[in-house]
Symmetry: C2
Subunit: 259 residues, 2 copies
């Protein structure tokens, strides 16, 4: 039988940048009962750091490329400063956290993305999540906090999409736990009208998703997130919610994704 | 009864900077049998990064002060880039490592150093090592790799002396394990003549230490290291060795510290 009630929570970079909202989020997150995992982005912090260091952001066809310098900055900021700062803050809230990247305990193993039209550089696509190791931390009431960095079997650290990290962790853990996945970002949920922040679509199932795609309602940024959601549902994740930093508060508005 | 054979190994920053020597050291370290813990410094990497970012190193009376910017750089470089790179490298050598700072799993709790003549800034003196948590990792054959960053109970990350981190971990673990402590740095051991790299003193006990102090033989940099050593021996650590990156090789020369 599955253990009950694991929450895997992704918090987006733009929320982390907003000190007030982020503080509130961490309060709510630390108060959540039961096992939980946090995955965080890094927002503009890495870009700002790269700028200060005089590293130019490499772009091809409008897509950001992770070259060697960009990877270094990502490991320093996401894997170092932001990750450890979140862990230290959670410790003060009676939440015994541990900061991890994919190399730690072989927790997230990836493969460097194949070069097709574009060489994205040091970017990884996840192959395997070490559910046994992550589970052993949860059993000790330790809260894993993941930066979105994975590692190849050959020991190469790779920049990895944070939404995918959260989805893959949720999928892997759902073998052992009844798992819910939460995507927290700057909007209250999926919007019917991108210009109206209150036009939240409360529920999206596969049929509704199809309909929204046909009507071209979903914004570009939301498309891969929703794709991740339906993939996760197909692989054992029980519930998925999209909302803002207040998602764990009573009466919060959000979007629920169902089969 | 104590479990046998834990090795706590501190590797200094200058060795990390030497790519060849460091590679060799990691080969040897990963081949060591039994439970082990690595503590690393960061060398000039943080200073270089601070320079690139235009942060000035604050000095008072020739002592380096960890101001807010310096702390950020230390967390980024030691806690992020260097720590995660070491973990990733160890993973390729069949050594299942996990990168930690003191906030992770409340592993190293410190107090901000009191301001006396000098305010050292964000610098911590260790109060408590979480031997239970570290032991639980060792039980799972996971190798903790510590950057020299501790955390107060109030969630403040603090720059901490790497030699002290290693000594405090060794002392705390010695309650459960027969523990040996290794300090690896750029010299082959404690030297009788600072100008002669081969003038290694093979054994130092308390009497010899006194004698060396009186004769003013020990270099300034070595004094706090030896102080740490004798304190660790007084608190249950079984064996202490000082040597260079080759310390784990057969016939390596080194200094052994005994009661």
């Amino acid at each position: 039988m599955k253990k009950s009630g694991l929450k895997v929570v992704k918090i987006g970079g733009k929320l982390i940048e907003n000190e007030n909202k982020f503080r509130g989020f961490l309060e709510d997150f630390s108060a959540l009962e039961g096992p939980k995992i946090l995955v965080h982005g890094g927002g503009n912090f890495a870009t700002e750091m790269a700028l200060k260091l005089g590293y130019k952001t490499k772009m091809i066809d409008g897509r950001r490329i992770t070259d060697e310098n960009a990877l270094k900055v990502i490991i320093m900021t996401y894997g170092g400063l932001i990750n450890k700062s979140i862990v230290a803050k959670l410790q003060t809230k009676n939440c015994n956290a541990i900061g991890l990247c994919g190399a730690d305990g072989k927790s997230i193993i990836s493969k460097r993305r194949e070069v097709k039209e574009i060489d994205f550089g040091f970017v990884g696509d996840i192959e395997e999540v070490n559910a046994k190791f992550i589970g052993s931390l949860l059993e000790q009431n330790i809260i894993p906090v993941f930066s979105a960095i994975s590692c190849t079997k050959e020991g190469e650290l790779l920049n990895t999409n944070g939404d995918s990290v959260a989805a893959e962790i949720a999928k892997a853990m759902s073998t052992h736990y009844k798992t819910s996945l939460y995507y927290c970002f700057e909007k209250k949920g999926v919007l019917a009208n991108a210009a109206d922040d209150d036009s939240i679509i409360e529920k999206i199932d596969k049929n509704k998703y199809k309909e929204l795609l046909e009507k071209n309602v979903i914004s570009d940024g939301m498309l891969p997130k929703l794709h991740n959601c339906f993939q996760a549902l197909d692989h054992g994740v029980s519930n998925i919610y999209l909302g803002n930093a207040s998602i764990f508060q009573d009466n919060s508005q959000h979007t629920k994704i169902t089969q």
